[in-house]
Amino acid sequence: MTAERMYLLLLRGYPPEFRAKYGREMVLLFRDQCRDGDVRSVGFWVTVVCDVARSAPALRVEAWRRRASENTQTVEVIMKIAGMLTGLLAGFGVVGAVGEWVAGSKGAMGGSYVLAVILGVLASVLLLGAGVAILLGARWGRQPIRLALFASLAMAVAARLLFPWMSIFSQLVGFGLPVALLIALYWPSKTSTFKAA
């Protein structure tokens, strides 16, 4: 194996984008080093390996950080869309629950039915609040949004258990949306607008 091939193997320690930009020039410099030094000596290779070991990990970390920051930006966009969707669905939820209340009020209403509808309205309002907070960037942190989502989920479950008035779609939104948003909010992320509380 030639010295240059050995060096090309060592270059794999660097991030691909760094290799793509500077790899060729680094090989040219390595050729200069080979011309000026004794390629067969151990000292030469110790210097070469030390150079790679000293510089490659830092550049790898930099590349990972950059990628993580780009991913965070993508997550933020997804969260904004999720916030919009949540607000919209929760708005429909509030309207639906109020409609249910109006329709139910025409006949005799049992206590559990009234409580279930009130809980449904409150769950939708909390979900709406969480959606708006996510959309606005949640300057006060993630914790209030998490609490609102937990409360919304608990109320939706309680409403469903008290009286089976919710449609399958309402149940999917009432249970699925808070769970999905809670998973997203508990997902570890760096330097996000939705800072960990």
Binding site: Y22, M26, L29, Q33, T47, D51, R54
Partner: protein, 86 residues
């Protein structure tokens, strides 16, 4: 690389990884920029890229040199350097 080793009297030896890692950061911070011109067209390899200090890089280098100069002067006043040991 040879220039750095010569200027530092052999105390600083840059390898290609250290050199290009530093160059990448200098480019990202706007302290150096790629230059189309070759310092010595006779000797220069056209496959290589050439870099030069930006005006911002020059002012940063001057500021750093002034800072180091002030430190060296302070060390001299304190007789930490420039005094022959007995």
């Amino acid at each position: 690389m040879k220039g750095v080793a010569a200027r530092s009297e052999g105390s600083v030896r840059l390898g290609p990884g250290t050199l290009y890692g530093a160059l990448k950061r200098l480019l990202e911070t706007g302290l150096v920029e790629e230059s189309g011109e070759r310092a010595d067209p006779e000797r220069g390899d056209e496959r290589r890229r050439y870099y030069r200090l930006t005006p911002f890089g020059l002012s940063v280098a001057r500021a750093e040199a002034r800072r180091l100069d002030a430190m060296v002067r302070a060390a001299r006043r304190k007789k930490l350097i420039g005094v022959r040991s007995a």
